[in-house]
Amino acid sequence: MAEACQIARKQDLPPPGGYKPIPFKRLPAKQYFSGYAMFAGYAGMTLVSIYLYNLTCKKITKNEIEMRSAKMAIYPMLLAERDREYLKQLRRNRDAEAELMRDVPGWEVGTYYGERVYKLLPPDALVEPIFHEYYAHSSPTEWFKRAYIKLQS
């Protein structure tokens, strides 16, 4: 055959002008800040924030001192009030016991069927009650409430 069949076939040829050159050189990452800049920025931000923190810190310290002083000032008064209420309640308890055990044979107020709790104390000495004795006349809910507070604290 003199003429070869010239069929236009699609061939995978290089683009016209040849391939562009392949970039093989290293591309390091872009550095926004240098090392010194980073340290300087860190120091600067720390100093600014220390200043701002101290502004609030002073206010809070003053507040804490005020609260602590106030609590210390009223603490004795609160203790005294609690003791007053305690003694008043002891009196009420004694009266309630006298009222309750009026008809029980052999019972004397403040003793266990006539037998004094502490034999060698004078009969009118104050014998501080235990928790159960203090709450002997109370409703169970109030008693458990107090016991729960003790457990909580």
């Binding site: 309750l100 029980v104 060698l120 014998v127 235990i130 159960h132 709450y135 006349h137």
Partner: protein, 100 residues
């Protein structure tokens, strides 16, 4: 009651009782009186002579009589409530919760 072993030696001291009411406690006075009495009379005579002191000390330590008082009072109150003698507001007398 046994206070101390018959022959005291370092071997018996190893497991000796080192707790007492003297440092922190409500029973300091009672314990001191009882121990002084025992030291004066010894254990055998002291058992008889210091009986009352021992009872006070024992009561302070275990608070049995005070607890028995509580039991008796409570029982009586509950009996009276069940009987119907106490009703309504008179049933109980509760202290203020922060007063003890």
């Amino acid at each position: 009651m046994s206070i101390s072993p018959y022959f005291r030696s370092p071997f018996t001291d190893i497991t000796g009782g080192m707790i007492s009411h003297q440092m922190l406690g409500n029973c300091q006075k009672q314990e001191m009186r009882y121990m002084d009495c025992l030291e004066a009379y010894g254990l055998d005579r002291g058992r008889v002579k210091c009986g009352e002191l021992f009872d006070d000390f024992h009561e302070c330590q275990t608070k049995t009589k005070q607890f028995k008082r509580f039991v008796a009072i409570r029982k009586e109150r509950e009996r009276q409530i069940a009987e119907g003698k106490l009703k309504g507001d008179e049933k109980f007398l509760s202290p203020r919760v922060d007063s003890f």
